[in-house]
């Protein structure tokens, strides 16, 4: 039956119109036309501005008639649009009174905050037209992607091995050999590599539309153009970045990203997005008008009593996340990505900001975080907080979790780094970290802990063992930017070395890090390229570098095959042994009458760890009968860590009658005997003990002989 609302009721300059529907916000296809809906609490009137694609001047500006407004929402249907060739925006009239928080300026054309795709930066790095009166343009998007039977994978949190990557960095390097380097399509072509490595989740650094030219300038040091490369500065929350799609110039970035997600899912790999809701690309009072600033500045941004922008993000402005209107757009946005793109999880950049009230104070019960935790559409999505912000809030262990939120465990990173470099006084701390940090997440379980030793912020793993200090000169800020507390150790020489001794310690240290990370309770996260010793030449803050400092060099797969093989095997080992993937904390007690605690602690003497401050050694044993709280039976596992500069003999705990120790990993041994294939581990000659070389990790499997 034909619908009554398929017919126009109004006309403006030859365009046929009808009062629109406030819901859903944004631009939506309806029979015969497009429904445009946008809201503003303080605007007095609104005009829809339509462009033919790419043209400098608008084709028409249609004011929202009085009867097209319900509450604070302007809604109108425009009929007969050639939707592939339309770009749209709005002008808003309202007060300009910065002291009161209002910055309306009807001379600006504003992007729809709900734009599902955005043009203007279609091809990465292509210099934009700086004179464009409307540089980031909202596009209309089909939402009819054919998913077949795909849906988010729902891999249990404890079973994940996360791989953090930047879309462009992953395949932009000429050595990647993909047809469309640096794009979503490029990742798709490299899925076999991800499978070979064995990770089952990729976490994409920002893919919301951002402007790589934001604050771009030429480095006085290197002469290279520095860019907003990482993209932690959102232009549009609902739109994938066009310049990360090979088909972006055709406006097909939405389909390209969905096709990537679908193909990753088909290969058992989940997709997380790193989302930046703490601030936008509009900067402070000196920044550009893109969208929110001109639509409803006072609602969207946290403002000082004088009307200036709070800067808890360190980037100029702070999104007013606990204003009910802003809360809703964040929720709408995440629901959109979860339902339309089948995204499996989200990592929230500087998430502590999301828990501040409109005047900046931390809330004990932040409504936004609660809404996200209890939302039905997001119910199975993983939610991960970077539990701090640039305003001094540090909430690792205390982030308002509602039983849902996990955290990037900064204490795992710091503790493991210090332990690895041989600092004293770390063994007690490490005992917590290895168990999934029960000191931080007592009631939340180990899956609240995202364990990592490196992430995009800071050194890569190779640089962690090759540099004592950051070397950020290429960023053009006189090496003043980036963190100073890297807890790194260069193994005796700053930077690349030809000394085989130094290089062998470095390789061993990287293996040690991988072995400890992947045998810890909690959820491990690996930084792209650490598996092949990717270097940033000591730069620990490459946010602006569109070059080989960030791009993964695929030739490393050849030169670093030993390290790659090590990673591959320890990842497989983790996934083969449920004992590493407990949903609940270990009790340090025997809960099943096995004669062993679920986890027991050892040192050079079995059952007698040295907890003293001078100790740099620790070993633990996991009892196979108590894997996953006794729900499944696994082998016994023994992990010994010698972070001392001398070798030490570790006495082994006795196994139950009939079981023997087999050696899976010894980072002190030369490749290929540093790690073994699962089920091909050789039996340990001396079942009573093992000598650990200096700075080495050993992993043993206790099982019945075949």
């Amino acid at each position: 039956m034909e619908r009554v609302d398929a017919y126009p009721t109004h006309e403006y300059q030859g365009f046929k119109l009808r009062p629109g529907k406030p819901f859903p916000f944004g631009a939506t296809f309806v029979p015969g036309g497009v429904n445009f809906s946008i809201y503003s609490s303080h605007a007095t009137s609104c005009t829809l501005v339509l462009f033919n694609k790419g043209e400098a001047q608008p084709k028409v500006e249609i004011p929202f008639a009085h009867e097209f407004r319900i509450g604070d929402v302007f809604a109108m249907i425009v009929f007969d649009l050639d939707y592939e060739n339309i770009e749209y925006g709005y002008r808003m009239e309202g007060p300009f009174d910065p002291q009161q928080g209002h910055r309306f300026d009807a001379s600006k054309i504003l992007m729809d905050p709900y734009a599902k795709a955005i043009s203007g930066r279609d091809v990465w790095g292509k210099p934009p037209d700086w004179e464009d009166i409307y540089p980031y343009r909202s596009l209309l998007v089909f939402d009819d992607f054919d998913w077949n039977d795909d849906r988010p994978l729902g891999t249990p949190m404890e079973d994940l091995v996360i791989y953090e990557m930047h879309v462009r960095s992953f395949t932009r390097h000429p050595s990647s050999g993909v047809k469309f380097p640096g794009t979503f399509a490029g990742i798709r072509q490299k899925i076999p590599y991800l499978k070979e490595l064995g990770v089952n989740c990729i976490e994409l650094m920002p893919i919301y539309e951002f402007d790589e030219f934001e604050n771009s300038h030429v480095s006085s040091e290197t002469g290279e153009t520095l860019m907003n490369y990482w993209g932690y500065s959102t232009v549009g929350f609902f739109a994938p970045k066009s310049g990360l799609a090979a088909t972006g110039k055709l406006g097909m970035q939405v389909d390209e990203l969905k096709a990537l997600v679908k193909e990753l899912h088909r290969n058992g790999i989940e997709v997380f997005l790193d989302v930046v809701f703490n601030h936008t690309a509009e900067g402070n009072e000196k920044g550009p008008y893109i969208s929110f600033k001109g639509i409803d500045n006072k609602t969207y941004y946290m403002l000082t009593p004088e009307g200036y922008y709070f800067n808890f993000s360190g980037t100029g402005n702070t999104l007013n996340c606990n204003n009910p209107v802003v809360r809703n757009i964040v929720l709408d946005c995440l629901r959109y990505w979860a339902s339309e793109y089948h995204i499996d999880g989200f990592r929230f950049d500087l998430a502590s900001i999301l828990g501040r009230d409109p005047s900046g104070y931390p809330l004990s019960n932040p409504p936004l975080l609660e809404s996200l935790a209890f939302d039905p559409i997001l119910a199975k999505c993983k939610l991960i907080a970077e539990a701090w912000d640039a305003g001094g809030l540090y909430q690792v262990g205390s982030f308002p979790a509602y039983g849902r939120w996990a955290e990037w465990n900064g204490k795992f990173r710091d503790g493991l780094r210090k332990f690895l470099k041989g600092e004293p006084g770390l063994v007690r701390d490490m005992a917590q970290r290895l168990q999934g940090s029960p000191d931080l997440y007592a009631s939340r379980g180990p899956t609240a802990s995202i364990n990592f030793i490196t992430c995009h912020d800071g050194f890569t793993l190779y640089d962690l063992v090759a540099y004592n200090d950051k070397h950020n000169e290429a960023n053009g800020e006189g090496n003043q930017d980036g963190a100073n507390d890297n807890n790194s150790w260069n193994c005796g020489w700053e930077g690349p070395s030809t000394d085989p001794g130094i290089n062998s310690v470095r390789t061993r240290q990287m293996k040690n890090a991988a072995a400890i990370l992947l045998t810890s309770q909690g959820v491990p996260m690996i930084l792209m390229g650490d598996e092949v010793a990717r270097t940033q030449n000591g730069n620990n803050n490459t946010y602006c570098q569109d070059n080989k400092l960030n791009w993964l060099d695929w030739d490393l797969m050849n030169s670093q095959s030993e390290l790659f093989r090590f990673y591959q095997n320890v990842i497989k080992f983790r996934l083969a042994h449920p004992i590493f993937r407990n949903r609940w904390h270990l009790s340090n007690q025997d809960r099943v009458g096995s004669g062993y605690p679920d986890i027991s602690w050892h040192g050079t003497q079995a059952w007698n760890p040295d907890w003293s401050d001078s100790s740099r050694l620790l070993a633990f044993m996991l009892n196979g009968k108590q894997a996953r709280g006794g729900m499944v039976e696994d082998d016994d596992i023994y992990v010994a860590m010698n972070m001392h500069w001398d070798s030490h003999w570790f006495e082994l705990p006795k196994l139950p009658e009939g079981k023997h120790w087999y050696i899976f990993t010894n980072t002190g041994a030369t490749s290929p005997e540093d790690v073994w294939e699962i089920d091909h581990e050789p039996i340990l000659d001396d079942q009573n003990g093992i000598l650990l070389g200096d700075r080495s990790v050993v992993i043993l499997v206790g099982k019945y002989s075949k």
Partner: protein, 111 residues
């Protein structure tokens, strides 16, 4: 956009000439959909399609879904490298059988 139809044995061969985009796709769809009778065998010859937009891709997929639902078969032939890449990256190619030439298509449908 031109649609050239012919029958070769029992196969409907539809040759599209020109750009397949938002302005041409609806008409092409209306015309080609008439051929989507039960058990139809169809070849879409794309060798003279110079550009395909999002709307063009969607038209192809709707046609595919219709033909499959009627136990028919459809094969694409003559895709340019550009269009094949676009279709591949956006996931549309996954649905289709595509072959190099019209003869390849005819052979496949006759076997």
């Amino acid at each position: 956009m031109e649609v050239i139809r012919s029958m070769i044995q029992d196969v409907n061969v539809v040759k599209l000439v020109g750009d397949l985009d938002g302005s041409t796709a609806p008409n092409v769809q209306a015309e080609v959909m008439l051929l989507a009778v039960p058990n139809v065998k169809m070849i879409l010859d794309m060798s003279e399609v110079s550009f395909m937009s999002s709307a063009g891709l969607r038209m192809l997929l709707v046609l595919y879904r219709t033909i499959i639902s009627k136990n028919g078969k459809v094969i694409l032939v003559g895709l340019s490298e550009d269009i094949r890449d676009t279709m591949s990256m956006t996931g549309f190619l996954d649905f289709f059988t595509y072959l190099q030439t019209l003869d390849d298509g005819l052979t496949a449908l006759s076997s």
